[in-house]
């Protein structure tokens, strides 16, 4: 179900600036899952973070892509969740999880074409961006942890409905793509290429 949000909060990741230091991924775990700083997720074989690291070679050039929840306007996880635990927040446009309604069926994990969810080893929750820690940061007017931690400004976050925000400017002026658009998910995650 597509929801018309008052705000349209979105992430931007600039592949031309990122040099793969990993500060954003560590900041994500430290902020959202501090109890799992020493835990390796068995699925991704990496730190239990909401940001997945995708390395690839394209025409003999190494590439790095950091992906996280795309906060899709037409999110497959929202469509498949049986009890409405996944929902599009009408105020922000973010895709959120209501823990009270989650039974841990993993349907949202299999339904997400971006493979950006992981299961919390203790709560069984399907974790994703944005975590509780970052939601608290937003509530007090700060940026998400990954954006704050990036040393080269490869990340931006903000309201796309406001043309004055940094993310709006960078989406307008940069060469951006959205991932797997053909899936019809209408993602709110922009990648500068």
């Amino acid at each position: 179900m597509t929801v018309e949000a008052k705000k349209r909060l979105a992430h931007l990741f600039d592949t031309t600036k990122c040099f793969g230091c990993g500060a954003c991924t560590v900041a994500c775990t430290a902020t959202n899952s501090p109890d799992l700083m020493l835990y390796e997720d068995p699925g991704w074989h990496s730190l239990a973070t909401n940001i997945r690291r995708v390395e690839f070679n394209l025409r003999d050039r190494p590439g790095l892509l950091l992906v996280q929840c795309q906060h899709c306007e037409s999110a497959p996880c929202v469509k498949t969740c049986p009890f409405g635990a996944m929902y599009n927040d009408a105020a922000t446009g973010l895709v959120k999880l209501d823990e009270r309604r989650c039974i841990g069926c993993s349907y949202c994990v299999a339904a997400c074409p971006y493979n950006v969810r992981w299961k919390h080893p203790k709560t069984g929750l399907p974790m994703k961006c944005m975590g509780k820690g970052c939601e608290q940061l937003l509530a007090v007017g700060q940026l998400p942890a990954c954006v704050q931690a990036c040393p080269v400004g490869a990340r931006a976050f903000g309201d796309l409905n406001d043309p004055g925000t940094e993310i709006s400017r960078r989406v307008r002026n940069g060469r951006t793509v959205r991932l797997l658009e053909a899936k019809g998910t209408k993602p709110n995650y922009f990648v500068v290429v």
Binding site: M1, T80, R101
Partner: protein, 312 residues
């Protein structure tokens, strides 16, 4: 260049592996047993339908990583009626609950609970409920409805995975049909076992044997179509999944488990039995293989599920 082995398998992340395969297999057997019950109204079939649906529910319940939260989730969803009827998971909960009740009615009719356990009749409402059982279980019109519902439950077990758009190999309408055909084959194998036990007659057994050959043939044709569609798909995830099945790490499971042991050997035994007469031990063994083939088919399709790679 990214190779297929770099593409992540869903089982690493979503963990839809053998337990979900067992669930889909059991639910398929229950559904198709209810379907077959319209023609073969025997107690063992009713009991098999009930036992498999209950076991299937138990398996899927144990797979939930937050099973303890189910009552709370139902409570909150009821408060604002936010059940997601567009989700096959939600529809499945509804369908399987109804399927369990249908199977209970069919089994209760054979069990004759009132006669066996007279003490039950002293409980409130029980006499009324038991009086309704034969009326429901022997109504020809309702048995048609139950048969259709069994078919729907089996198809649901396929639609459940087709809706997981993260795994492109599964996003094909072939899966629900393949599941129905393969569950039908498994129930025919079950009927063969019932015949060996003397629970269904010789004439029915001959029909079952012929149907099983045809059903296995259709199943193999559908399986090869599924693999061909996967190998030639535009999605890299679907191609990688199909390649894993056809010549990758899951090839032994597919070719030896599903195709050879799960289909070709039972077909050969059926043809032998039709031409030269039945050898009980061989038929029993082949029926077990055909039953197991349904499980291996589901497991191989689930385990082959991969996400699409993210490339710029």
């Amino acid at each position: 260049m990214m190779s297929f082995s770099d593409i992540q398998s869903q089982v690493d992340v979503a963990r839809w592996g053998w337990d979900i395969a067992i669930f889909l297999w059991l639910v398929g057997i229950s559904g198709m047993s209810t379907f077959a019950y319209y023609w073969v109204r025997r107690a063992p079939l009713a009991y098999a339908a009930l036992i498999t649906v209950l076991l299937g529910l138990a398996v899927v319940f144990s797979h939930l990583s937050r099973w303890w939260n189910l009552p709370r989730a139902v409570f909150y969803a009821t408060l604002d009626f936010s059940f997601n009827w567009g989700s096959w998971m939600m529809l499945g909960i509804l369908l399987l609950s109804i399927q369990a009740v249908i199977c209970l009615v069919l089994a209760a009719d054979h069990l004759r609970l009132g006669e066996r356990f007279p003490a039950l009749l002293k409980w409130p409402l029980v006499p009324t409920l038991l009086a309704w059982v034969p009326r429901l279980a022997r109504s020809s019109a309702l048995l048609v409805v139950f048969a259709g519902f069994g078919l729907l439950v089996t198809a649901y077990s396929g639609f459940l995975i087709t809706q997981a758009v993260g795994v492109p190999l599964w996003n094909t309408a072939l899966i629900p049909i393949l599941w129905v055909v393969s569950a039908g084959t498994a129930v025919l194998a079950l009927l063969e076992i019932f015949h060996l036990k003397g629970w269904i007659d010789e004439r029915a057994s001959h029909i079952v044997t012929r149907l099983a050959v045809a059903s296995d043939g259709i199943k193999l044709a559908m399986l090869f179509t599924f693999l061909y569609v996967g190998l030639s798909a535009s999605s890299a995830g679907a191609r990688a999944g199909a390649a894993t099945l056809v010549y990758g790490s899951l090839a032994p499971l597919l070719w030896i488990g599903v195709v050879l042991l799960g289909a070709l050997v039972p077909v050969a035994v059926s043809l032998y039995s039709l031409k030269f007469g039945e050898r009980r031990g061989l038929v029993f063994f082949a029926a077990l293989l055909a039953l197991g083939g349904g499980l291996l088919l589901r497991a191989s399709v689930l385990l082959a599920g991969k996400f699409d790679p993210l490339l710029l």
